[in-house]
Symmetry: C2
Subunit: 130 residues, 2 copies
């Protein structure tokens, strides 16, 4: 969707550093997998290729999710909010989303008055980045 | 959970403006409702009261969700991610989350090469803020 991609990128309110937060949700289970950031180029590429691309703030460059780990995110549908300042990605996550080897990055929770770990790694991180 | 609340607030990596993004998800349906921001005080209050409180960047003060609209968010479980720089709130949303009167703020989508509205208001916004 080349025309739509450009129009959507134009309509998004990127923040003062040129980025917009993007939430990735597994499209069928509803599980929230991760939150990362996109610049206009990452958003445009994601819309045009159907494969999720973020902008890595630590590395200062495009981050094609899964490019080193193989844990790619196929875009099912891209949504955005009322203020056009947050993206919600409906994705199909291959393998795991988290660099720790867990399916979701949100594996810490406050339960019964304690901070607990609610998910364990499914893949050894050494395997992801070897 | 007073002790846990303080410990969790201490462990979160707030950004350079002292805020952390918080995603609200309806705990049973999995629907992502909105994304807003918390400062340490908002996070602490949310954990201690069980009612979600954000920090309004536009108003520069605590925003107890539903304080004017009545559309409160009851906290079911608070989670955070691998980098401790994003919060995921499992909530029970009374009524609608969006100021437009829609259940979710994410009502814009790219479908079939077009930007479309995928949800309509359930409540007249004038009713929410009268």
């Amino acid at each position: 969707m080349p025309d739509t991609a450009d129009a959507i990128v134009q309509s998004i309110n990127f923040n003062s550093t040129g980025l917009v937060p993007a939430i990735a949700q597994q499209h069928d289970s509803g599980e929230v997998l991760m939150m990362a950031w996109m610049n206009p180029e990452a958003l445009s590429e994601t819309l045009k290729t159907g494969r999720v691309c973020y902008f890595s703030r630590s590395r200062g460059k495009l981050w094609r999710k899964g490019e080193t780990s193989g844990q790619v995110q196929k875009l099912i549908e891209l949504r955005w909010d009322c203020d056009a300042d947050t993206i919600l990605l409906q994705v199909d996550q291959r393998g795991v989303a988290c660099h720790t080897g867990r399916r979701s990055c949100f594996y810490n929770a406050a339960r019964d008055g304690k901070a607990v770990t609610i998910a364990e790694p499914e893949i050894d991180p050494d395997e992801l980045y070897s």
